[in-house]
């Protein structure tokens, strides 16, 4: 089963999860998870809380070593790359971070340049230009000199997104990037992610917002109980029976004005 998949990844330019399995103690979190995030596409990863989405993202950034299978970048296992080399190719937007010191938003965005710089030294004019550009793209140029620990959760999320853009990677991994954002900023962020993919990057977006993610992603991967239960175009994946087994929720799927599926959850009284 796993042999042909590995043969495929040798020629693939994508970020490939190959039969990834992970356990925390007795509990199996991921089992035989395989899918690919190609360059030029936005892939959505959905599933209920505890389905293993964040674990999968952590395996891709080498923050966690899978118990089975592997993650490859253009055919190379991520374990074989140095952390620094990996960070120039994959950037992560975490859900939130705790900043115990009064760093400024601009300083945090500049930290995205870390894998491109030496251990000591000052930012080059290129670093500054890229950081400014990233902040402008996300629409937070005016936050540059504000303290990160005094920003709202949503503002901090945008700062982390700008940091990932400044990292100038080929892939973006976004772990619930819109959780604290208002609707306008959600749409804005996802528009930038689309732009990123159109200019040749690959993005994996973890989200609970099925409505938005269905409209922005080329493909959706659905995780349930640590396994992939559906993988394909949003229209093909978002079906009532898939939603039932992934989220245990009864829902109707209708067609939106753009032809994309819209999930309408049923709320049963009594």
């Amino acid at each position: 089963m796993s042999a042909p998949r590995q043969a495929v990844s040798k020629t693939s330019a994508g970020l490939c999860f190959e039969s990834v399995g992970a356990r925390f103690g007795e509990q199996t979190v991921l089992e035989d998870v395989s899918f690919e995030v190609g360059l030029g596409e936005v892939v959505g990863l959905v599933g209920c809380n505890g389905a293993g989405k964040t674990t999968l993202v952590r395996a891709a950034t080498r923050s966690l070593r899978p118990d089975a299978g592997r993650v490859t970048l253009a055919g190379h296992p991520v374990e074989s790359l140095s952390r620094r080399a990996l960070a120039t190719r994959v950037a992560t937007v975490p859900q939130d971070i705790h900043v115990p010191f009064p760093f400024l938003a601009g300083e945090l965005v500049l930290m995205g340049r870390t894998p491109h710089q030496g251990a000591f030294g000052f930012e080059s004019s290129e670093d500054l230009a890229l950081a400014r550009e990233a902040m402008a793209r996300v629409g937070i140029a005016e936050l540059a000199d504000r303290r990160v620990d005094q920003l709202s959760g949503g503002e901090r999320q945008l700062v982390l997104f700008a940091r990932a853009l400044a990292q100038q990677s080929e892939w973006l991994l976004l772990d619930e990037p819109t959780a604290f954002l208002d609707l306008r900023h959600r749409i804005e962020l996802l528009r930038v992610v689309r732009e990123f993919a159109r200019s040749g990057g690959g993005a994996l977006v973890v989200s609970h917002d099925l409505g938005l993610i269905a409209r922005v992603c080329d493909r959706l991967v659905v995780l349930a109980g640590g396994r992939v239960i559906a993988d394909g175009e949003p229209g093909a994946v978002l079906r009532p029976e898939v939603l039932d087994s992934a989220f245990g929720m009864r829902a109707d799927v209708i067609q939106g004005p753009d032809g994309r599926p819209v999930v309408v959850a049923r709320i049963e009284e009594g």
Binding site: S82, E107, A119, M135
Partner: protein, 345 residues
């Protein structure tokens, strides 16, 4: 967009360097026999052969000032490293209990080492080992006590400090080799009876520590945001943590083995600097070394000359200042950091 420029870096360090020099000259002039700052300057840089001031300035006061500067720089710099690695601005070598561990190591050699042929030369390595051991203990506690790590860590430090102090008193009491009054010197921190022949060692340990911290200053910035963030930004955390913890322990071990338990320097100095300069470790590390040195030189000068003929242990001065600062910081932390970062430099 504010960021660290070479100009700001050089200007800030030059200013702090000048401050340290001024503190040094002030300290040279202070003492039982009156010497003007001008005379002190002259004795230092253009000494005439038969001037008694030269002996006082160069022979008596200068070595102690150099020692105070080295100890202050080491403690402040170690504080910065601990704060970044533990992601806690309240981490100070004394509060964490690692100074206590170092002092315990030193006392163990002083009281029991004679029996196995260990002389005074073994004290700094023993202090270093004591510091490192305490640190490992502390990190084990931090790893296991998930969630409560910030408070749990400080609590463990406080308890360990009490334990170390008791063990120090115990060892010193049963040992023939240690004069009873010396226990007090170890517990409160004092420079008056420091042995000056260790100054070169202290300078060496400090240089190694500062060099390590500077070499991974950018790493410290991202490590302060958490291990996972650091990894996502391409920093190999394991190796860097180890080097930095050893470097900080070297500095604490060296400082404690000459001066005993001087507390709060590693808390007050980095905190004050962060308010003015921001938390960027590329600047904070060398700035803390310079400001820590100046701070302890001033404190020690006050300790030996501000109270007439009576000499206070310098650790009493730093603790009198540091206690309220700690409580204030703790309060602010719980209140969710009210202060704004001023943009003076």
């Amino acid at each position: 967009m504010k960021h660290l420029t070479p100009t700001r870096f050089a200007l800030t360090l030059a200013l702090l360097g000048a401050g340290l020099l001024a503190a040094g000259v002030f300290a040279l002039a202070m003492g039982p026999s009156s010497v003007s700052p001008g005379e002190a300057w002259q004795a230092l840089f253009a000494p005439s052969a038969d001037d008694p001031v030269v002996d006082i300035v160069r022979g008596i006061r200068l070595p102690r000032i150099v020692l105070a500067a080295l100890v202050g720089a080491s403690l402040a710099c170690a504080g910065v490293i601990f704060q970044a690695l533990l992601r806690n601005p309240l981490a100070d070598p004394f509060i964490l209990g690692v100074s206590g561990g170092a002092a315990l190591g030193a006392i163990a050699v002083l009281s029991l080492g004679g029996a196995v042929g260990l002389g005074y030369a073994a004290v700094p390595p023993a202090a270093f080992a004591g510091c490192l051991l305490t640190l490992f203990l502390l990190l084990m506690v931090a790893r296991q006590g998930s969630g409560t790590s910030a408070t749990g860590l400080l609590l463990t430090g406080v308890v360990f400090n009490a334990f170390a102090s008791a063990a120090i008193v115990f060892l010193a009491s049963i040992s023939e080799g240690i004069d009873g009054s010396r226990i007090f010197v170890w517990l409160i921190g004092n420079l008056s009876s420091a042995r000056l022949d260790v100054t070169p060692w202290l300078a060496l340990f400090l240089s190694v520590g500062v060099a390590c911290a500077l070499a991974s200053a950018r790493g410290l910035n991202v490590l302060a945001l958490g291990e996972e963030t650091a990894e996502q930004l391409g920093v190999s955390t394991e190796g860097q943590r180890r080097v930095l913890l050893v470097a900080a322990s070297l500095m604490v071990g060296a400082a404690v083995s000459v001066s005993g338990l001087i507390g709060f320097v590693g808390l007050i100095v980095p905190h004050a600097l962060r308010l003015v300069l921001g938390p960027d470790h590329r600047l904070l590390v060398p700035a803390s070394a310079l400001a820590g040195a100046a701070f302890l030189v001033v404190c020690d000068t006050l300790a030996r000359s501000a109270f007439g003929g009576r000499e206070l242990p310098v650790g009493a001065i730093t603790a009198l200042l540091g206690g309220p600062v700690f409580l204030f910081m703790l309060h602010r932390r719980q209140a969710g950091w009210g202060a704004t970062r001023s943009g003076l430099l």
